[in-house]
């Protein structure tokens, strides 16, 4: 039954380019410029989907982003399908495949529709009142609730599309390309302000661009023709950027706005390859002009939700813009003049208009007179009390309103129709304004919320500011824009504007019915199926606040975020609770204005760009030598170097042994390095480290422990005195940035009197660490002219040296307990130096080792790793490092906290060594330690912080923190695992070479 619903004379749709698409598997045709909605209507398809709760048949209601019903699953490719997209916003493209949602097996025959039959049982929030018995059945109930909830389906494969971001800074941002937006943008740009104009449609002009009506003229030409000329002039204006298909998503404080530009969704599938799908513009505007227009309201009456019930002005757009007839016997129902524009457009296009049902008393504004001239029948002071038809409206029932408008009277007129246009007046789109923190005021005469006060540099103009008549829209837009931009643009002086002005205003939030309310279904939120009855129920049950009602009934919480329903909900609440609407306030509109894909928000920060990857100068060598890498902060560190198919355990055992038996080489470049200069450098170190520094000789190194002010260990590392006023500090890999930041903070804010300068040189130096009994021999090969005798170059000292004429610093420090050296050289030569050392070490089977082996070796010596053996609750005393706390020093960061009543307790958790009775059992790091396994609850006295099998001691070793551990040396304890208990004994933390002989071996 494809009746021809297209009219041919149309300038916006290219009827020469036919596009084929699929809806619910059926192949259909439309034209370039169509939306899915207009194309479906042209194919006489009204039934699009099923509602959320009652599964009632629903069709297209609007022509824009406020659409509550016609939301579809776009595309059926597992990775490219998109749920809940509005048919009214999808631009038709070759290959589009869309399907209905929330129905099974099909939109035409939907099992879920049974809910409609049960609807009396499931009023608002019924689920809070039931499903509680028997208690353990809830899981089952919930399964079905969840199954029936949700609309579309999520993709199940990763998205193939690309998204990105752009920052944009402009003087003026104009949001909305309707008549006022265009006036504002032109005014701004012509006054040398760098201006950006965005509009969510694919072309400019708003609703005026298809307004060709005798009643609305500017300088004696139709308003649409006048505007068309204006738009043509825009291209010639410099410093004006125009972005169509761009939706303002969020308006944050400080005029920071987010706009999503659709770049490929309108293209045929084969034209999209390698293109950005959506771009998120992060806009910082000095001034913002909001010209987002207004939305038409529905009318709230029984069965106002049937397919074929469409907002009146949308019908006008479908006929005037898309050239599509929404029906052939159309009735209109209104409380304002705008429906007459629709009536006139329809009859001018040869569509028969049954009649206009108007709740107002007779009015004779120009537009009404024009309609009457065309012989359009009008039922004054009447209301539609019901609609008939199931999958499509077939007729309406009209009755007269009583004098006081509270009831309907007289006999019911039944009127056949295949489409009903409804218009409940207009709601300014103030969403962005309120998002930005702006406060609204209420205008009683036509029940609209309008922008009032704002902290930001912005204005609203046009119908989003409450101007609904052509003349006031244009005049006020011109005046406000000039005033706001402090310019004097006279392009729009003495324009001659004809406009039909509304004389008679009237509004009834919930229209009276001939049936008791309980027997009717006057829908408010069409998608969530909440009715006026639900709102009244909520009020009866004591939910007074608008937010309560909203949450209790879910009104306004559907994917249209209540664009269509909020005002009526408020109205009905105000009426029922007998408060003034202005005082009731409104719900807050939260970003985004229309739903925003995660992809657009994230942009290119996916996959390899999810987070920064930091690499050391030797990275490629490690990779080439089969290293597994460990993430340490943003760094990639060589973790271990498996040979052939060694397991991590085997590799680490081999590396550890080699390091102690002969020589090992470690890439320590990731350690933080801070160059410290200034006459107060020593004093500064005294204040930031727990130990004393003034007496450290030049050329010597010292280990330091840094605390937080709360007394807990924060970071550690070796600092070397390079000169009288010159030190270089090393920090942990993870701590580097924070330590520098913290030290700068103290210097700038607490100790500005100190003459000290800190400069990060972490990336300037590559650090090659060579340890083991043969390290000395290897270094002597690499740096022949350096005297390595213990006397000349003792442990904990440094020397400057040249390697092939390149400066470097050699430190004799050890984190393994072995005789070892650290060479720092500028990074560009790091890889080369590493290779040189490796070559030199070959005769000693020098073995590269990674972080895992490093951790094992230091554990054998009982050296801590800040962050692994400490967790922000350990003091130096707890670590049994009392020796590092200078008693002489008056103060240092965190000192005072060490003497609080809890921190001086001597039975705190303390670092100890742990040996398993069975030397082959390796404890699990994180395992808990107890003294008593019998009694419940088991008291946990501590936990294992580090644990390894030591190949050098040939037994398992562990470090742990244990309550009162210091005093418990030799104490037998237990580590209860899931299915066994491990016996352990508390020991000293140093397992290997207690006398430190190996350092000088």
């Amino acid at each position: 039954m494809s009746r021809n619903l297209r009219i041919t004379n149309n300038k916006f749709i290219d009827q020469t380019s036919r596009i084929s698409f699929k809806f619910d598997g059926k192949t259909l045709y439309g034209f370039k410029g169509d939306t899915l909605a207009s194309a479906l209507l042209a194919n006489d398809i009204h039934l699009i989907g099923r509602s959320f709760k009652y599964h009632r048949p629903r069709g297209i209601m609007t022509c824009g982003s406020e659409e509550p019903n016609a939301i579809v699953q776009a595309g059926n490719d597992a990775s490219m399908t998109e749920p809940n997209t509005r048919a009214t916003e999808i631009e038709l493209y070759e290959g589009l495949e869309a399907s209905s949602q929330n129905c099974w097996p099909s939109v035409n025959f939907d099992i879920g529709a049974i809910n409609n039959f049960f609807s009396p049982l499931i009023p608002a929030a019924f689920y809070y009142k039931t499903f509680m018995w028997p208690a353990n059945f809830w899981k089952l109930y919930e399964y079905f609730i969840r199954k029936s909830a949700g609309l579309g389906k999520s993709p199940t494969q990763p998205d193939k599309d690309i998204y990105d971001h752009r920052y944009l800074h402009c003087d003026v941002l104009v949001v909305g390309g309707g008549i006022s937006g265009i006036i504002a943008a032109k005014t701004a740009a012509k006054n040398n302000l760098n201006t950006v104009l965005i509009d969510d449609k694919n072309n400019l002009g708003g609703t005026t661009i298809f307004q060709q009506n005798e009643c609305f003229k500017i300088n004696n030409s139709y308003s649409n023709e006048w505007l068309k000329k204006e738009i043509e002039t825009l291209n010639s204006i410099k410093n004006l950027t125009i972005k169509t298909r761009t939706t303002l998503a969020a308006y944050h404080s400080y005029n920071y706005l987010l706009a999503r530009e659709n770049l490929t969704d309108h293209l045929d599938l084969n034209e999209r390859k390698d293109k950005i799908r959506q771009r998120l513009w992060k806009i910082r505007a000095k001034k913002v002009i909001i010209a987002t227009g207004a939305m038409e309201r529905p009318l709230i009456f029984n069965n106002n939700d049937r397919p074929g019930v469409i907002l009146s002005y949308s019908i006008k757009k479908y006929i005037d813009y898309f050239g599509v007839k929404c029906g052939q016997k159309i009735s209109l129902f209104t409380n304002n003049d705008s429906a007459y524009e629709t009536a006139i457009s329809l009859s001018n296009s040869g569509v028969s208009v049954n009649s206009v049902v108007d709740i107002r008393d007779r009015t004779n504004s120009l537009i009404v007179q024009q309609a009457e001239k065309l012989g359009i029948k009008i039922h004054w002071k009447s209301a539609v009390v019901n609609t008939n038809g199931y999958k499509k409206i077939t007729s309406i029932e009209i009755m007269k309103l009583s004098d006081d408008d509270t009831t309907v009277v007289g006999k019911k007129i039944k009127q056949e129709c295949d489409c009903l246009g409804i218009s409940g007046g207009w709601t300014p789109r103030v969403h962005l304004f309120t998002q930005s923190g702006g406060k609204l005021k209420f205008r009683d005469e036509d029940n609209v919320f309008l922008p009032d006060k704002s902290e930001l540099d912005q204005i609203s103009i046009g119908s989003c500011n409450g101007d609904f008549e052509l003349d006031s829209v244009v005049k006020n837009s011109v005046i406000s824009t000039n005033k706001f931009l402090k310019v004097n643009n006279n392009d729009y002086e003495n324009l001659k504007i004809n406009s039909s002005n509304e004389i008679n205003k009237k509004n009834i939030w919930l229209l009276p019915s001939n049936k008791p309310l309980g027997k009717t279904k006057p829908f408010l939120d069409f998608q969530n199926d909440s009715t006026a009855n639900d709102v009244k129920l909520a009020l009866r049950e004591g939910f007074k606040s608008i937010e309560h009602v909203k949450r209790y009934t879910t009104t306004g919480m559907a994917t249209d975020q209540g664009k269509l329903s909020n005002m009526h909900a408020l109205g009905i609440i105000a009426e029922t609770a007998d408060v003034k609407m202005g005082e009731l306030g409104t719900t807050t509109f939260r970003p985004p204005y229309t739903p925003l894909t995660f992809g657009a928000i994230v942009g290119r920060n996916v996959g390899e760009f999810f987070d920064i990857t930091r690499r050391t100068p030797m990275h490629d060598w490690h990779a080439k030598h089969n290293a597994e890498f460990e993430n340490v902060g943003q760094w990639k560190r060589a973790w271990y170097y498996p040979i052939e198919n060694e397991s991590i355990h085997e590799a680490v055992q081999r590396e550890s042994k080699a390091a102690r038996d002969s020589a090992g080489i470690l890439d320590a470049s990731t350690l933080g390095k801070i160059d410290i200069q200034g006459s107060d450098a020593s004093e500064f170190l005294n204040r930031v480290y727990t130990n004393a520094w003034s007496k450290l000789e030049i050329g010597k190194c010292r280990y330091g422990l840094m605390l937080n002010e709360d007394g807990m260990v924060y970071d550690d590392g070796v600092t070397t005195r390079l000169g009288e006023n010159h030190y270089i500090m090393t920090t942990t890999t993870g701590g580097a940035a924070n330590v520098l930041g913290k030290l700068e903070d103290y210097l700038q804010t607490e100790w500005p009197e100190l003459d000290v300068y800190l400069t990060s040189v972490t990336d300037h130096y590559a650090t090659v660490s060579i340890c083991g009994p043969n390290s000395k021999k290897i270094i002597s090969k690499v740096i022949p002219d350096l005297n390595l005798s213990d006397k000349e170059f003792p442990h904990m000292s440094f020397r400057n040296a040249l390697i092939d004429n390149i400066k470097c610093r050699v430190m004799r420090i050890s984190f393994t307990g072995e005789h070892s050296y650290e060479i720092n050289i500028q990074s560009s030569y790091g890889k080369s130096l590493w290779e040189k050392c490796f070559e030199a070490g070959k005769e000693f089977d020098i073995t590269p080792y990674g972080t895992e082996t490093m951790h094992l070796l230091r554990a054998e010596k009982g050296f801590i790793i800040a962050g692994q053996d400490t967790d922000g609750t350990m003091t130096p005393v707890d670590l049994q490092m009392d020796w590092i706390i200078s008693k002489k020093k008056y103060d240092f960061i965190g000192k005072r906290s060490l003497y609080r009543s809890d921190t001086i307790r001597d039975d705190r958790k303390q670092l100890v060594g742990l040996l398993t009775d069975d030397p082959n059992v390796v404890l699990e790091e994180g395992a808990q330690i107890v003294l008593e396994t019998k009694k419940q609850p088991i008291e946990m006295l501590g936990h294992v912080t580090s644990s390894y099998f030591s190949p050098n001691l040939n037994k398992s070793i562990a470090l742990a923190v244990v309550k009162n551990g210091k005093k418990l040396k030799g104490q037998k304890m237990f580590v209860p695992m899931k299915n066994k208990t491990i016996n352990v004994t508390i020991t000293d933390t140093v397992f290997l070479d207690k006398e430190n002989k190996r350092l000088n071996a």
Partner: protein, 417 residues
């Protein structure tokens, strides 16, 4: 009992078009005096009133709320409920709450939709693994169900997670608490309100506290926008606004109130049937009964009472979501909002007496207060009724910040939840 909720009451009322449902709670004007006043009509405050009336037989009490009940963090959080905390004190507190959750719908005759769909915490680096294993061991010994899962088990439990070893921070494993899950936030506030009201508690909305009247070192009552209300016991449960109330008695708290953001996607058919949290990449997600993906973002670093946060926090979180669930790239953010959370330096709450007699504070829940609602109410009620803490909240006193005996849960609570 006022009309009991059940399928039968629904059927009965259906015949009268639901015209005769009773009010869930009254809308009383404040009396001259109460035995106790709770400041703050969120979940914690209403629960406190409920248990004061139910377990301590204090019926003459009021809850004063400056706006509408459940409109603060109760109505703004991502409803995650779990008890797999590290320290004994926290484990005790949160598991006490979890136990109450398990029968709360029946206790309140109000379906709070407590859904024990499990909560999984992912590990992305070796220290994560150590920390989470440490927690799991501690949980086990504290009788809290929590198990360690290796990567394969993680994948098995939640197949849509990207467990590829090639992502920037691969999933190295995780912990699972099966008893954990989510609940319907509004229902919790409304259920407690209805229950408390039924026992005679006055719930007074749109009543802002302007001052606290003291006599010597004890409290006498509160100045409100509805006049002076007398009471010798005042329990403050004002979450983000705790410091504002404390200021009225020149009390300084170790709190900072910061915006915490959350967002939901458009509703879709069931796609993820558990709660997954990740500290390292900072994201957590679950799916609501309505089908929306509920995603929690982080807090901003600055104090703000605006219930708005910075966009980069949301961007950062969604970035992590797409790293773990690349299939969500075409899902759409429907709504984004912020709450004001009051954060303690040790990321643990305060449920405590103060040096002012009759003044009690329940605050500092930071980003994770919802899960504790029933337990917090119960223990705070105990503390107010007996003027001394229950053993389960003894460690959560204000004095710990002086002694240094903190309950440092950062390891366990680094991500907003």
């Amino acid at each position: 009992m006022k009309n009991k909720y059940s399928i039968f009451s629904l059927i009965k009322n259906a015949f009268s078009y639901h015209e005769y449902w009773q009010r869930a709670w009254r809308d009383p004007e404040p009396k001259k005096e109460y035995d106790a006043i709770i400041i703050g009509g969120g979940g914690h405050g209403l629960a406190t009133a409920f248990y004061l009336a139910k377990k301590h037989n204090m019926k003459n009490i009021a809850v004063v709320e400056k706006s509408w009940i459940g409109g603060g963090n109760t109505g703004r959080n991502t409803t995650i409920i779990r008890s797999n905390y590290l320290w004994d004190a926290s484990a005790g507190l949160y598991d006490h709450a979890l136990k109450i959750w398990e029968s709360l719908s029946q206790e309140l005759n109000y379906n709070v939709m407590f859904s024990q769909r499990g909560v999984m915490n992912l590990a992305h680096n070796l220290q994560d693994v150590r920390d989470l294993k440490r927690r799991t061991h501690a949980n086990r010994l504290n009788g809290i169900d929590a198990v360690w899962l290796n990567t394969e088990q993680v994948k098995k439990f939640c197949p849509i997670i990207n467990t590829s070893p090639n992502i920037r921070y691969p999933v190295l494993g995780g912990t699972l608490q099966k008893r954990a899950g989510t609940a319907r936030h509004d229902a919790v506030a409304w259920g407690y309100a209805r229950g408390a009201d039924e026992m005679g508690v006055d719930i007074i909305q749109n009543c802002e506290v302007k001052g606290i009247k003291r006599k010597g070192d004890s409290v006498e009552g509160i100045e409100t926008t509805k006049g002076f209300i007398k009471s010798k016991k005042i329990g403050v449960v004002a979450a983000g606004h705790s410091s504002v109330i404390a200021k009225m008695v020149d009390l300084k708290l170790p709190l900072e109130s910061k915006p915490l953001q959350a967002l939901v996607s458009e509703p879709v058919k069931p796609i993820i049937d558990t709660v997954v949290m990740s500290n390292a990449v900072h994201a957590y997600v679950s799916q609501s009964d309505k089908g929306e993906l509920v995603i929690g973002a982080g807090t901003d670093a600055y104090v703000s009472y605006t219930q708005r946060g910075s966009h980069d926090v949301v961007e950062g979180t969604l970035k992590a979501i797409l790293e773990l669930y690349p299939i969500f790239s075409r899902m759409k953010m429907l709504r984004q909002w912020g709450g004001i959370v009051d954060i303690c330096p040790d990321a643990s709450p305060i449920i405590s007496k103060t040096h002012i007699k009759g003044l009690y504070f329940n605050c500092g829940w930071g980003t994770g207060g919802f899960k504790a609602t029933p337990g917090s109410g119960d223990l705070f009620a105990h503390t107010i009724a007996n003027d001394e803490p229950h053993k389960l909240n003894a460690d959560f006193n204000i004095n710990r910040f002086v002694s240094g005996d903190l309950v440092d849960e950062h390891g366990a609570a680094a991500v907003a939840h």
